[in-house]
Symmetry: D2
Subunit: 341 residues, 4 copies
């Protein structure tokens, strides 16, 4: 059956699988000390225009968020994020398991604002009892957000400024970063992301890789002995070159951007169709995730033809569904989906 | 200056200090293995009408909440509580430090309801992704609540029923339990508390003791090797008889209840005066804590004569203040406070 | 240059890479809910002759040890293991990071014995202060051990019996299990392992897979909500079918056993050569790891031709080196190595 | 029955109990913000001759060790200590519960040496795999040691120098510090302790107080937001003035030193008697703990008259016992004990 359920249901872009075959006879040192990792890291730091940036390659998103956040958040602090943030909702308490509270702020379209962050900090320090409370210790935002929306450069710079003023490291979770970078109207490029963040990730799992998240610590922000922290969190892949090779491939001939852009274009067609047909769309998204609100009856009809992501009930008889394209979505699949709408 | 700031600003009830003097020449085995602890525990289990109950004596509230909650909450679970719950607000992340998320529900007058808990669980298990989320793993309520309100027996029984049906241990934080037990209209006695809870505490620190919280595990609910868990959390007092002696004293001649009732009576006078003078009272409390909302100007005036607890700004020019009586509050102090209102 | 440094420096067995190519057009549900995982798990439970066994597929060894041990060890307990155990030496404190002490016993040739374990428990419970100590909470052994030695079935059964009597779950780390199962003289087959252990792993990373460790909980020993614990530790691979496919392949036509046996045979040739040439071999190993003690001078000579694992200095002028074959080692490589010995 | 079992079986020095009575009518702000804490801290920093020192008052030893060590040890590090160190043996895994491995070195008479520490670090950094291991992250020594022995100033300075060179904070656990400071031949005074340590404690519980450990961070070494860390570990006493008052009393008229010296003098008499009678004494101790090795028969005889601490079996038919004097030991008690020897 047709599926627009998520962007991680296909194995990998053909270019990646081809290279996996080609390296069969090679032998490599383990744990990310190989040449592919070095080459991929160099490509990324160049794109970031940050010679001091340091790159690690981890396997999955939750382990990456857990490892990075526990490394940058002081023991007395929690991590501020949108209440819709992945770390607050769908990571099984991975952050709390490292001892840190998630300090959730009410999201607007999946985002938090600089003013909101500043106000939160202001009220925190104004509270006479704040020594008995969890300090804001780091800031986490997702680009794009869990609702497919994209922070503008201005929004990110404002968040970065407040975080900097409050001495909080800013961590941008880019599990789907490619989809933001190539979205219509996006004005925050990779070097902007590197400039505003203390650390950010470039997600591979959802953008063409078999697995893999590149962690980029910018401008000398790398925590001491970070490799050991990665190992301690069980996130250090023995055959690290499998990660290096994939990111090297993704950042060869702009593959990462092409794959992302393709998914966005497919989503654009769906967005147009939804508009034409008068659908109720939940968030104004330019990326590969579209959230629609339909009647239970309509949802049941769609379910006969296509698998979508079920989000939640909306009132008594409506539901929110997610339509998710990916780098692997074909024009034919999109056309078929539109025919069911 | 006059102070109604809190209920833990005086050392201890005279009966306790007297007995401390009397035992000067005695020698006791350590870590709660002494006779005073045994005697005090016996008195408590009798009052609870639960021969299977087991009692531990710890020093302070945060360590008690941390030790108990981490002992009863499974690794995959968090602890459900009111967003106003002490563990969610003013314990510096002590629960998260043990790896568990605090799952905060919107409070009403400091309480959560059985229906609210059941609905939360219902929606949790209905979510197709709940394996990626933090399971409800235990339930925490405070009696009285942080806003001085008191759960009725019916409310507690309903919460207990839902918790039982959902296989969640119910923990009642009784840091100020005496003030609830002796409040006007209270219908949940100590044996009721023991019957509805899997574990609860009887707070000494805020009810006449120098320090000390009695932890009561009911009906064989004691976690395996709980003494070791207490030790692991740094909560096992070397000279444990200091705790046993205090609780023995508090449960001799109903001292615990008399001290609590006294504070409530003093608060009743203040409540009457507030009503007479048309004050804006924030919560309908029968216990020793009263929350009032006054203009900034009025707050400044009061501050010249009496120290109250500052809670938070309310809108642009009003604040919420806490008036807190204690077992040590004298009639004269109450009269003086009323004269300033 | 020739390398016998470790058994995880080649990408994967050709059969695995071929199948990765073949599934390019497929779409699968995530997180191990796909058909490949189901099929692979079925094959494993059949080989274990344990219909109640439950299988999870994780990515790497440290994350597996961390997730399993924290799931089976009570909060008041630590995990007993050989002081040479991987969790005690080379996992960057991953176990302690979950709150548990590693209780290390002196190894003999990488092993601990049933008598040693029993004696440890006996003395622990005999200690009047044991409530203030870390309880033995689980038992960890590696098969084969970190020194390439293999527990006999009798040794494992005795360990299992003591563990059972002491109510301790027995966890067998099989990161290199295939090499033990196919070693000369081994008498503990996969179904024996399943019978003596509460939980064990079948390592893929070091036996032909790109990555992957199968976790087998035997006879209904699976911890409640284990999937959530896997997620919480960042160990749940989004594209879980990549794991299922690899283990399905490894357990098709006995590939897992053939790959392992091949490595052992190559090691046998090296062992024979070492004996012939009068080398000082540190442990009596039948598996793919051989530890030799040579002079610094000899080590320097060897280093010109072949990369070996450096273990440690032995006295003033000798060192211990590891020769490690793998499923990928060729007859030619072995012959070349022998020519340098 | 006569007891020389430990030094924490009497409530408190009379001076402390008297002052507890005297402050009955006082009201104080909570959590250590009161005047007694300020005054006691001033006295301590003066004795330390370190105007930058900052002092906190906590309740018990385990919570203090847990709070301090987790505050000063980086996430990638463990705490190096003697294998006989209290944190390694009798704190129920409190350190590991905060995520840190205890890196135990073989003790000699309860001590570790500077050379031993340096060698450990040297070998750690020389290990090619040290990124996969637990870094030495802090150093813990007890003064006096758990065996009653005392580090000389030279030994402490050497340890401090190595720790400094290795960039490791040195933590001196002074749970019985008074007994070391006043022991025969001691040459490390309080200001020396302050000079060599990054942080140390002055134990009250075992030296005349009801409870209480003063934590002294020297020369600006206080961790950021340490009060919040104390709270997070459940170690912040609500009625903090009870701690301040006790330490103020202990450091008035040299009470702390007089109490300690008294215990040492009583121990000296016992030591002399043991020598005279040809007892086998296990460690050369000048403080209030004496460890003797006697036959099972002798132990049984002694047990009829006096309670001693049982340490461990020594061979088939002998045991190690601890004789422990305290500030509360009377001349008569000592004489009676000697009569049984």
């Amino acid at each position: 059956m047709l599926s627009f359920q998520n962007d991680y249901s296909s194995t990998a872009a053909p270019q990646i699988l081809t290279r996996m075959q080609q390296i069969q006879q090679e032998q490599h040192p383990g744990y990310g000390t190989d040449d592919y990792c070095r080459i991929a890291a160099d490509k990324i730091t160049k794109l970031c225009d940050d010679p001091e940036a340091q790159v690690w390659f981890l396997v999955g998103g939750t382990q990456t968020n857990q490892t990075v956040i526990s490394a940058i958040t002081p023991q007395y602090g929690g991590v501020v994020c949108a209440d819709s943030g992945h770390i607050n909702t769908h990571e099984a308490g991975a952050i709390e398991a490292t001892g840190h509270k998630v300090l959730a702020l009410a999201n607007e379209d999946g985002k938090i604002s600089a003013a909101q962050l500043d106000d939160y900090c202001e009220r925190f320090y104004a509270d006479a009892n704040h020594d008995h409370m969890v300090f804001p210790g780091a800031v986490y935002v997702s680009q794009p957000t869990e609702y497919g929306t994209v922070y503008t450069l201005e929004e990110l710079e404002a968040l970065s400024q407040v975080a900097h003023d409050r001495k909080l490291p800013l961590f941008i979770d880019g599990a789907r970063l490619g989809y933001a970078l190539t979205s219509d109207g996006n004005d925050a490029d990779l070097d902007d992301i590197a400039r505003v963040a203390n650390v950010f990730t470039i997600g591979g799992t959802k953008v063409g890789a078999m697995f893999g998240e590149a962690v980029v610590f910018t401008r000398g922000n790398t925590p001491t002995n970070f490799t050991t922290l990665v190992k301690q969190h069980g996130a250090l892949l023995a055959k690290g070159w499998l990660l290096g090779l994939q990111f090297d491939t993704l950042f060869t001939d702009d593959l990462y951007f092409k794959l992302s852009e393709h998914a966005n274009k497919e989503a654009d067609k769906i967005r147009q169709a939804l508009t034409d047909k008068g659908y109720d769309v939940a968030f104004v998204s330019q990326t590969n995730q579209i959230f629609i609100i339909v009647s239970d009856k309509k949802a049941a009809e769609l379910a006969k033809h296509v698998t979508l992501g079920f989000m939640e009930a909306v009132g008594a008889d409506r539901v929110m569904l997610r339509i998710c394209t990916s780098w692997a979505t074909t024009d034919e699949q999109t056309a078929e989906l539109i025919s069911y709408l």
